[in-house]
Symmetry: C2
Subunit: 190 residues, 2 copies
DNA sequence: GCCATCATGTAATCTGTTACATGATTAT
DNA sequence: ATAATCATGTAACAGATTACATGATGGC
């Protein structure tokens, strides 16, 4: 059994926030869940077509005044049902792939400075993510204090904050170990 | 440009730990880096063939006494160089996909209990992972205290511990929010 | 007797990215 | 001028999983 196609459900879920075009779906995903989910046009456009053929979304053609014509999609009753059926199913555990850890695992093959460069880059990415996450949470709290999905959005951001804080702490530990200031064993004793 | 094929380098890296068969490569990956990396036979066997054709690994056929014959692969000098070239390159950021957060993002579409079930399952997985990670670290520290790669192995485990501890904490917060005991906004104030 | 482990490999299939093609409008 | 945004779509291709095929040995 191949992995279930989650693009379908992502699009259906996005369309519960209102009718929109494929282009809009993409930018909605980037702005709202881009932190933990991504879709490309190469997936979105064909999937929208398939969803329409299955009666899970409706399409309405809108003449673009000046702008290109848009296909505006809205979710159907059957689409909502299909979405809810999937939402209550247990989330499949993600297949783990962490290239940084993979490279570090083979770190004995390269110079210590190479490993330290990896860590520094990783810490910078996590720190940058934290800034983004915190500013997004603030913006949401002031601009949409009454939205029904606000708690769900904030919980996603909150997990990102906690994980990235952990990453930043780990980077400090990793640097200490790679510089020889600590042994890795000590990390587990304390 | 397609994403670089990391299976190649994973196999080369594994073979720095000694000559072994495709079967061994798979079980080595599962036991050592299974926590953050996975490969299937469907990838390993064809990749080993390709690596041999490129002169990055050598193959030696060993008659199995009783057992099936084995193809034992060892990394060549050129293989080691190719590996090191890749190891020093910046790790490509993983494309994020987190099905649990995706489902939770659309959580307003289902009953609160459905969301709570997701969280409970997620916490159980993280708790189980923590038990595994801690016991692995202890086993490594006592059994291979002198191995040159021990610090690298332990650092990988340590990140897993820190991230999963964060996940467990987050699950408690998420449950409080979903039960209405706290508001999501409060999570960001404190 | 049966299951786990050892052992190799192919085929079918899917998911998903990237590049390409096209072209108007608006803001800088 | 020119870059960014709006807007839709296809084609090529790679990465990866799963299922299938085959078969022996050794422990319970």
């Amino acid at each position: 059994m191949p992995r279930t196609n989650r693009t379908r459900y992502t699009i259906l879920g996005v369309l519960t926030h209102g009718a929109m075009s494929g282009y809009d779906v993409k930018s909605f995903i980037e702005r709202s869940i881009g932190n933990f989910w991504r879709e490309s046009y190469g997936q979105i456009y064909p999937t929208l077509k398939a969803l329409e053929a299955e009666g899970l979304v409706d399409r309405e053609r809108r003449e673009g005044s000046g702008r290109p014509d848009r296909n505006v999609y809205s979710i159907t009753r059957r689409g909502s049902e299909t979405l809810r059926e999937w939402l209550v199913l247990p989330a499949e555990p993600e297949i783990p792939r962490h290239e940084l850890l993979l490279k570090l695992f083979f770190g004995a093959q390269v110079d210590p400075e190479d490993n330290l460069r990896h860590i520094a880059r990783y810490r910078a990415q996590a720190a940058e993510a934290l800034v983004m996450l915190r500013s997004t949470s603030e913006r949401l709290i002031v601009s949409r204090p009454d939205a029904a999905d606000l708690p769900f959005w904030l919980l996603g951001i909150r997990l990102g904050v906690m994980v990235n804080e952990g990453v930043v702490d780990w980077c400090a530990e990793a640097e200490a170990v790679l510089r020889g200031a600590t042994t890795a064993e000590d990390l587990f004793v304390t």
